[in-house]
Amino acid sequence: MTYRETVAAIERRVRRLSAAATAGVALLIPAAAAAVAAVAVALFTVSSTARLSVALAALGIPSVAAVLGFAFRMRRPSRLAQALLRVDVSLGLDARLSSLHEVAKTAPDSFIFRRLEADVSLRLDQWRKALPVSARTVATYATGATCVVLAVVLSTLLQPPHTTADPTDRESIAGEVRGADGHDEPTNPSVDGAIGDAPTTTGADDAADEAERRIDDVLADLGLEGAPADGGGDPGAVELGARDDAATFDALIASLHERLGASGAKLTIDEQNALREAATDAPAPVRQAIEDVLSASSDAERREALETLVASVETPRDASQDEPVASSRVSTEQEPDDEAATIAGDQLLAGLEEESAGGIPPALEGDAAEDATREARTPGSEDAEAGDEGPPVPAEEDSGERAPGSYVLERTPTAIGDDGEVKSYLTTGVPLEFAEEGTATSARVSYEQIESIVAMRELSPEAALIVRTYFEAITEGGS
């Protein structure tokens, strides 16, 4: 290898090395930025589109920047003199190669050139070891690649924290709701899968499936589409789901009672299956009554058993008036720091129960079957409605009676733990606006009205958010 070929090779290598170093830096900077962006996306963004965009950007932008950096540096002049001196020092040439390069530019025909060329020619083959890839360049590439991988992994696999809440909390809430309604029906499998199983799944396939599952899907399973994302795991939403199940069961009983009592027809296969399914989680008297209905051999016996079933259903229903508070108690145990928020939530839940019993069920409005069931099992409801026409009755004497001046004195028929009746937490005499006759809606209360109560309690922002979420859940959208 001649001197000129060696210098040309050295120059190419120097150019590539410096271009590679520049490309490494050009790779590292956007890669680090992408990693930071991916962390932010992983923490706060649910949208799979945004995540995919960040992942693609994390792959694309650093790569393009590295290529551009490499191309830019390749076009810049190289520091050949320093490289030649480095080769000189590395090979122990006493700066002969550098000097030779200098003489080649000024006096290539001189005897000094020939002498220096003769001196260096024997050792020039080893010049490559003087110009290795620097550890800094390797470290830069390694760091940049790590950032890219991290960005892609974070933005595609990691889910936001609020979608992976503690499953035990959700389960306990759901369990309390089931107990509150006096039914032990299995909850919707899709809901259980979304809420309870997702965080505990460790298998690669399950993890990938759960990663793909979006909070919107969970809300859709809960029947709360359009509700805020934060309410996905809200106890109120679960409460409503359980209430729907109870209403369905009541509607089934009412339907059977009406159909079989009038025509004397037999149970259909579907009805039998529905009753058997309901019996699995029902209390013993109800289960016995269901079995009697299913095993009845004659129409008269079936009607009698059906009457017994209706009566047995009423008994646990009356006994379960306090159950919503039980679910609220669970919340209190889960978040002792937010006790005030829980109390406010209890009040709202109690109000919901009150409305459910008193004929103003905003969350279940339009459910004719449930209305029928409620009328059948709530003898006092007529009294309450009749009370609308009479004078105001003190809350202690008749809870839920509506005053003619369009306000009621509420008495919540339940208690919270050892703190006594809920009524002690309510402001009696707060006027409520009722819909005019003929309109489809019932009383409408905006969250702003509730917010004044929340503000009075001096709740923390987190607790206030829980109250708002719960309110919007039970009012299906905010009023």
Partner: protein
Amino acid sequence: MITERDLETAYVAFNRLREAVETVIVGHEKVVRAALIALLCRGNVLLEGVPGLGKTLLVRALAGALGLEFSRIQFTPDLMPADIIGTDIITEEDGHRRFAFSRGPVFANVVLADEINRATPKTQSALLEAMEERTVTVGAHTYALDEPYVVLATQNPIEMEGTYPLPEAQVDRFLLKATVAYPTLEELADIATRTTEGSGIRLPEPVASAEDVLKARDVVREIPIAEGLRDYVARLVLATHPGSAHAPAKVREFVEYGASPRGAIAAILAAKAHAFLAGEVNVRPSDIEEVFIPALAHRIILNFRGEAEGIRVGELLSDVWENVPAL
């Protein structure tokens, strides 16, 4: 363009010159080499050392070995510039009186300015033009000095009373500053033997001519120095400045002014001459290392703190050398 023969001739001539000087001077290889380098680079040397170490003998031996005219100027406080460069005197020729220039001792090839720091700055500065321009101006006339021309000045570093430190402008005009150290035991015994036995010390016979010196100067200037090494010298010189990013901590702390650009020029030229004297055809990093301190030591001006704490410039430059990497 020089030929290989020119190089060989010059190298042989200076090798003979060195051997001739070393027959008279015992030890002091670095001082002798500094004098030869100054001769090769068209420079001047400042020799620093206590009296009696052979400084004057060195200069006389060098002049004798070259067969060149030698003059010695003993600097004293009452020495006047005219005593150095000469003056116009009235002469009578053919019945006519006229002014004629009487040359001073500066008109020689090898000038020894002994104890130069004993003269006043005015007299010291009389050497400036001769050292740098190789000319002497008296009145309206400028006289050229014969080449090769070299000034070797000595100064006593111990006896400071009644001395006048050299002005920075003049110090900067010395290519190198060489410290004449005290001889070792063996060298001292050898000196005693040579001077007390036989006919004593005899100056060498001429072994090289002025023409040899001038040709060797041309050869030295053709010796290549790599671009990377030139950059290295520049970084070294910049590192002597307290405000430079390359300056080590001691320089920032104790130096008032660093080396001038003449320092870089002197270092590169001296490195070339050093490589030539070593028989090389290119400047090596070791050549720069050898001349780095002699070329820059007298160009560094310490600040008050450095003077008060007795900081040695040589130590500062060693610190610079260690802290500025070649690559």
